[in-house]
Assembly symmetry: C2
Homo-oligomer: 253 residues x 2
């Protein structure tokens, strides 16, 4: 097998990017739509679609449109068995939501330079923070981001900050990350999206490695200093309970 394969990384990334164009608003796509959305030459898109079909990641419906392929069904099962939390952990997320006055609770892990929601309990308030499992968010913004970066060094945090919109953001992010590391939790207001606040605490694995951040999220108007002080103890309790339960990302299996 030849060692030289400079296109490997790019090809896989491109295939993943192409699949990311299918969503609830675009459950099926034509080659023309994919060409427009990617800006790639038609010949490249055709070849990529063919490859993805061969792998089962796309499926030709026969009407000139492709849909996410049945091969993803096996991956869905893999994702479920890896990331499904035990009932006891889900009960903890629910309890935190209640202790937080009905705000939404999310569990985030770091994935490259992003954070991904891997579990959640949706709040009960009519104005609530809605995040779907699998949703990717930037690491440079939000309380969960600060917590997930709290063991990273200055250079790493600066690199993450460089992906944000503010060229001056590195110093501010570093300060927030240091604060999260020192007091063991973080709060944020409108960093990612105006009007949304969050409070997060770290979850560790059995060997003490930082694995995830558990966060309460809701409208900034309800995240007053007083309210935050009120639910931080429950947040820290939940983070400790999740650490004790383990099993995030199939740990221990």
């Amino acid at each position: 097998m030849p060692e030289a394969d400079p296109g490997g990384v790019r090809s896989v990334q491109r295939a993943v990017d192409l699949l990311a164009l299918y969503d609830a608003e675009h459950p099926s796509r034509s080659v023309r739509e994919l060409v427009t959305a990617t800006g790639l030459p038609k010949s490249t898109v055709v070849r990529l679609v063919h490859t993805l079909e061969q792998c089962g990641l796309l499926w030709s419906r026969g009407d000139g449109r492709t849909v996410p392929g049945p091969g993803l069904l096996r991956w869905a099962e893999l994702a479920r068995t890896t990331w499904q939390l035990p009932e006891e952990a889900l009960a903890r997320l629910r309890a935190l939501s209640e202790a937080g006055g009905g705000e939404s609770v999310g569990l985030y892990v770091r994935q490259g330079d992003a954070r991904v929601c891997v579990a959640r309990h949706e709040g009960t308030r009519s104005l609530r923070h809605v995040v779907h499992v699998g949703a990717e968010m930037p690491l440079w913004a939000g309380a969960a981001g600060h917590v997930l970066l709290s063991r990273s060094d200055h250079a790493a945090v600066t690199a993450v900050a460089a992906q944000g919109p503010d060229p001056e953001g590195a110093a501010l992010l570093w300060e927030r990350v240091r604060r999260a590391a020192e007091r063991g939790w973080s709060v944020s207001h409108g960093e990612r999206e105006a009007g949304i606040s969050g409070a997060a605490a770290p979850v560790f694995d059995a060997e003490g490695r930082l694995t995830a951040a558990v966060a309460l999220g809701g409208p900034t108007v309800r995240f007053t200093d007083e309210a935050v002080a009120g639910f931080v103890p429950a947040l820290l309790d939940t983070a400790r309970a999740l650490t004790a339960l383990g099993s995030i990302g199939g740990t221990g299996r």
Copy 2:
């Protein structure tokens, strides 16, 4: 963007093959295990793992082992919304299982040179045919394979037969495929696995294109000619009902 990317297809296929090494028995893998399982050089595996991590398809647990990544959670959602059958269609599969004396029912689509189970209703007998959603099976074997090939020409069927274990299998497969096309259903005994029989009928989309095969599967000892003759009407009824309902692979969306 350079047009020449000869490694593209191979890289994506290799990435998919690597992910396929994670399953219920192997929920996590070390690089050493992946090297052994793939036969690829360590440097290639390391680069591939890094790429998959960047894309969120693998996740480093921190203990030197990787697990299917949180990026798959989004794909799981895509697969679910694309392939989830409406309740009415699932009720049809259940009713067919009952009409078939409690045998298992599966719905299969073609994916390249394989067939994939995209929905099922597990039978109630203690000896039953168990197939998981997402499972891939060869196209050259079994009643569902005959049905899925029933609109293919001789050359295409011969090419599929060439993937089977029997070099003389092409003529036999062509005969079975022709028979399935003529009478609109097929039955098979022990073609894929000794002792397992199946009976299948075609499902079409609104434009009359062959989309799927619905099949009853169970032990050969219960698939006597008499028993098959007894449940073929229900099988054909179910296939017609599924055709009328549409929605396989997100058709119509």
